[in-house]
């Protein structure tokens, strides 16, 4: 059994033809993932008992001729910011190195109810803050396609596991591009659904008005399947959306001829040459598929980085206040007084990027600066969201690059936080507007580094977005030219 190239369809076929049982597949998938992990450090820890238990339930259903669920026996990796009952959830942080959640995230419950088999938890930037997975307290992840380079971040472990074949699909989280950018760096599909489409119950909060859970996969149909089972209203997350969930996998094959695709000029200025060339070729493929291309403008794009890093750091400084030494496993040994316990635990526990963001967020929320920074940014966010609403009156989808450049070398950008923030320019706007967006593989550079093409759609039009991505993928991507 070649577990590294399995798809959900192939697993279903193998199960129904009795080529392998769910337990056999889980055993082999765990063995393979564990033996390959030293190459990338994609997984932080595995949960074999849980995986085999889930697989046994699938086999029992099959033995009773019951439907085993749309994700039956599918090996899944879960980013370690998503809570798993009884299985450590560290958020890539020293502060939560021993934290064992007493409950499961809704997305995990749903994927397991659908027959999915969680193999383990994936590495990420500490509390999902970063664009390279170098901010993990447990060592960086290596890009499986270029081991001296980063996998992107913050869901770098999930993207690397899917690219490496140590998971068929994975859950990631996205606040400013943390699913799409690593997907593009690792050559896989990554989907950030509409804000509220997937419940965040059990997702450790970073910036609550921007956080999303979404799927990563090796092809569009598999991403659509994982999205379908995890999406939908959840009473445990009051921000989860009531809108009905479409049957995304069933809607993939619709016609894309005549789809109006907007190309925002602000996103194609100053691109690294090879990335730009590949995305332009991707756009040409869409034209050949019958899409109608339109030049559009999203005029407030240049303010998005400043807007985003004010809002996300402000919310992070508030959300991370809970790590105080009283409740979450780690307390500084120097805790003579209550305030001392807070200050020392946090000072010793948080890594550099978390401290930077807590400081920035506290500053922009502090007395005298709230109006100038936080309130101002919330108003600019309205303008950015309006740019998209106006664009979607004229087009059905928007196509852009995901990142200005392909995967960079480990350590290359660590010394310049502002430069690292600026590289998020193409992905943060979608999060600010709350619209669905995704990265689909769009060829490789001359040195073999993957490049992603971003597709953005209007609120709750995941089906239209995935259909366009699927048509592009089925046509052979940029190789269709």
């Amino acid at each position: 059994m070649d577990v590294a190239s399995l798809t959900i369809d192939r697993i279903r076929e193998g199960l129904l033809r009795r080529e392998f049982s769910a337990v056999e597949l889980a055993t082999e998938a765990l063995r393979f993932a564990q033996s390959e992990n030293a190459k990338t450090n994609a997984y932080l820890h595995f949960c074999p008992e849980r995986a085999l238990g889930a697989a046994r339930r699938v086999d029992e259903k099959l033995a009773r001729s019951q439907a085993p669920g749309p994700l039956a026996a599918v090996p899944v990796a879960v980013k370690d910011v998503i809570c798993t009952r009884g299985v450590r959830t560290t958020c890539g942080s020293r502060l939560l190195a021993h934290y064992v959640p007493p409950y499961d995230a809704t997305a995990v419950i749903r994927l397991e109810q659908a027959g999915g088999v969680v193999l383990g938890k994936t590495n990420c930037d500490e509390f999902a803050m970063g664009s390279s997975t170098e901010n993990s307290a447990f060592g960086p992840v290596r890009n499986p396609l270029a081991p001296d380079r980063v996998p992107g971040g913050s869901s770098g472990g999930s993207a690397a596991a899917v690219a490496q074949g140590t998971a068929v699909v994975a859950l990631g989280s996205d606040t400013g591009g943390s699913i799409r950018q690593p997907a593009s760096f690792c050559g896989v599909v990554g989907v950030t659904p509409t804000y509220g489409r997937v419940s965040r119950y059990g997702l450790v909060a970073f910036a609550s008005s921007l956080d999303h859970i979404g799927p990563l996969a090796r092809n569009v149909p598999d991403a659509a399947r994982l999205l379908r089972v995890t999406a939908g209203r959840d009473e445990m997350d009051s921000t989860s959306a009531f809108a009905p969930v479409a049957d995304y996998p069933a809607l993939l094959d619709g016609e894309v001829r005549g789809t109006r695709v907007g190309l925002p000029r602000e996103y194609f200025e100053g691109l690294a040459s090879e990335t730009g060339e590949l995305v332009h070729r991707g756009v040409e493929v869409l034209a050949r598929l019958g899409c109608e291309l339109r030049q559009i403008s999203l005029p407030h794009t240049r303010y998005a980085i400043a807007c985003y890093y004010i809002i996300c750091t402000a919310e992070a400084s508030s959300n991370l206040a809970r790590y105080d030494g009283a409740r979450y496993t780690i307390r500084s040994s120097e805790s003579e007084t209550l305030i001392g316990m807070y200050r020392n635990t946090r000072g010793e526990g948080f890594g550099a990027e978390c401290k930077r963001r807590i400081m920035l967020g506290t500053y922009v929320l502090s007395s005298g600066y709230y109006d100038a920074y936080y309130l101002k940014a919330q108003k600019v966010r309205t303008l950015i969201a309006r740019d998209f609403s106006a664009a979607f009156r004229e087009v059905d989808a928007i196509v852009t690059p995901v990142s200005p450049f392909p995967a960079f070398r480990l350590g290359e950008k660590l010394d310049d936080p502002l430069e690292m923030y600026l590289s998020d320019i193409y992905t943060i706007t979608g999060d600010l507007a709350g619209i669905p967006c995704m990265s689909v593989p769009c060829g490789r550079t001359a040195s073999g580094l993957p490049v992603g093409m971003q597709i953005l759609a209007n609120h709750f039009d995941e089906a239209g977005m995935l259909r366009l991505a699927h048509a592009f993928e089925r046509a052979g991507g940029v190789n269709a030219l």
């Binding site: 509409t194 105080d324 030494g325 209550l338 001392g340 930077r356 400081m359 919330q378 502002l418």
Partner: protein
Amino acid sequence: MKITEAEVRYVADLANLKLSEEEGRKFCSELGEILAYMDTLNELDTSAVEPMAQVLYEAEETATLREDVERTVLGPEGALANAPAAGAGFYKVPKVIER
């Protein structure tokens, strides 16, 4: 935009975050640079723009309300399972009240 070391210390106190001498110095220059970049927002006149307080909400205002019925919760054991120090059903913390 210049951030002084005293301002960095003040903000670190607000955040209950102990910083080393070196971190304090580093944040002076880094935060100053990042905040200067954020000042680009002042190019925009937003006097007539509403702040985006809600990302997306498509349902009725009362849709998220539910009946107030009892249900299973974590309970003290579950809630305290991750506490660095606990006892008698409570979190243990350093002494707060001076005698």
